[in-house]
């Protein structure tokens, strides 16, 4: 084990960690923006939108993230009109393609999480809000959504870790994320495992930090569900 080489190249891994965090959180953010209206449309069975969202969720949850990323990065360049359009500035860059693929993927999983959380809202909460004379919009924004978000927390925490791990696919389309840094180190010094082992350790640390953060959030936002101590 050549620890010295890993330490010597710590900048490589620091930059990789930054890239991984960037991709993960931006994808989660965009995914969430997609998922909130989608999840609401699914739970309300809004005509047309509900079917559209259903198809989107089925497609992205039923297929591998790697293939989705390949389809966007390698696939779209097949069409001349894509290469000639303004969007080509984004679609030719692996970073943007990875972000688009990850965001759409995360959005599909988050949609199902939010739908589930909305559908398990206790009836009484909505009835109470109605009885207080809140308008439809007020019920949605002051009662339904905040309450559902709390209940979605544990599962959303899993989705965040899932996205962090999925983001390692970025290295396959040449990006220098954590795994990309590991691959570069291995290639540069002709090593077999040191770079991968370092990457694995970094992913593990990030995973446990995220799990810890979500535990704290759950402890705060789901306090009312804890068994009361005597």
């Amino acid at each position: 084990m050549r620890v010295d080489l890993v330490l010597e190249n710590w900048r490589l891994f620091a930059a990789g960690t930054w890239m991984t965090l960037q991709l993960t959180f931006l994808a989660l953010l965009i995914g969430f923006v997609i998922a909130l209206p989608s999840g609401i449309a699914r739970s309300r069975k809004t005509p047309f939108w509900s079917q559209l969202v259903n198809a989107y969720v089925y497609l992205f949850r039923g297929t591998p993230l790697l293939v989705q990323t390949f389809l966007i990065y390698y696939g779209l360049s097949q069409f001349e009109w894509v290469r000639d359009s303004w969007a080509w500035t984004f679609l030719r860059s692996p970073w943007w393609c990875a972000l688009i693929a990850f965001a759409l993927n995360s959005g599909s999983y988050a949609t199902e999480i939010i739908r589930g959380a909305i559908e398990t809202t206790p009836r009484g909460e909505i009835e109470a809000a109605n009885a207080l004379g809140l308008s439809k919009r007020q019920v949605d924004f002051l009662v339904l959504i905040p309450s559902a978000m709390r209940r979605a927390l544990p599962q959303y925490g899993n989705e965040v870790v899932f996205m962090l791990h999925g983001s390692a696919i970025a290295s396959v389309i040449t990006l220098q994320d954590i795994l990309g840094a590991g691959r570069t180190l291995n290639a540069r010094y002709y090593l077999a495992y040191e770079g991968f082992l370092t990457a694995a350790a970094l992913y593990m640390v990030l995973t446990f930090v995220l799990v810890f953060l979500f535990r704290q959030l759950e402890g705060h936002y789901l306090k009312h569900l804890r068994p009361r101590s005597a």
Binding site: L66, V67, Q68, F70, L71, Y74, F196, Y203, M204
Partner: protein, 229 residues
């Protein structure tokens, strides 16, 4: 489209590799999951800690990293071991590395599935079996196993669905599976979009078919009279 049809036999071959890899990985994962669950339920402090370390490592590391680590690191390990025995080099195939990595990863998830299913079996069931004087092997076969299958099936089917998608990543180490072959063919035919779309559809078909199989299994193992659908 004509290109896709011309390459269809090749892609079918790749699809078979994907299915084969998924099935052998599931077999390995099931064995590891059973072992892990047994260690957690009946084991002492040491086996409990070992299982804990196993599931923690798996939960912290992405599948792609695990596959690369086992493929390249495993190759080095094999070389060292073979060298020590004085025999020639032996190469680790991408298929073998993929199977070991995916089996190892999903074994950890199945550990939790099996343990959870076992815990769901009411304690009174084993007590009643013992009170009836059943032989412990008979008890496992007639009382524990049927209920374990019933409770574990939903989790098992979830793991399978995720596992199948996970096999796509093994194409990164050069496995000629559905994704690997479609990647090459799409480049040669200059139609990557068409080929990757075809791959997506094949995966959707896998997902759909496995769902049918698991629905049938769940109905078969359901308690008669309960959850009548």
């Amino acid at each position: 489209m004509e290109q896709l049809i011309a390459y269809a036999p090749l892609l079918a071959k790749g699809a078979l590799v994907t299915i084969a890899l998924a099935i052998v990985s599931l077999a390995l994962a099931t064995a590891l999951g059973a072992l892990g669950a047994a260690g957690k339920i009946g084991g002492g402090r040491i086996s409990n800690a070992l299982v804990q370390i196993y599931t923690t490592i798996v939960r912290g590391v992405p599948d792609l990293v695990m596959i690369l680590l086992i493929y390249f690191g495993g190759q080095r390990l094999v070389n060292v071991v073979m060298g020590a025995f004085g025999s020639g080099p032996l190469s680790v195939s991408p298929f073998l590395a993929g199977m070991l990595a995916i089996g190892f990863i999903y074994g950890a998830y199945l550990t939790e599935t099996f343990r959870g299913a076992y815990m769901t079996i009411p304690r009174g069931q084993t007590e009643a079996a013992q009170a009836l004087g059943l032989h412990s092997w008979t008890m496992v076969r007639k009382i524990i196993a049927p209920q374990l299958i019933r409770f574990a099936l939903p989790g098992y089917s979830n793991v399978w669905q995720v596992l199948v998608k996970s096999t796509a990543v093994v194409s990164v180490i050069g496995l000629q599976d559905l994704v690997g072959l479609a990647n090459d063919a799409g480049k040669t035919a200059r139609q990557p979009f068409v080929f990757f779309t075809a791959v997506l559809l094949v995966y959707l078909l896998f997902t759909f078919l496995s769902q049918q199989v698991f629905n049938w299994l769940e109905r078969r193992h359901a308690l008669v009279g309960h959850h009548a659908r």
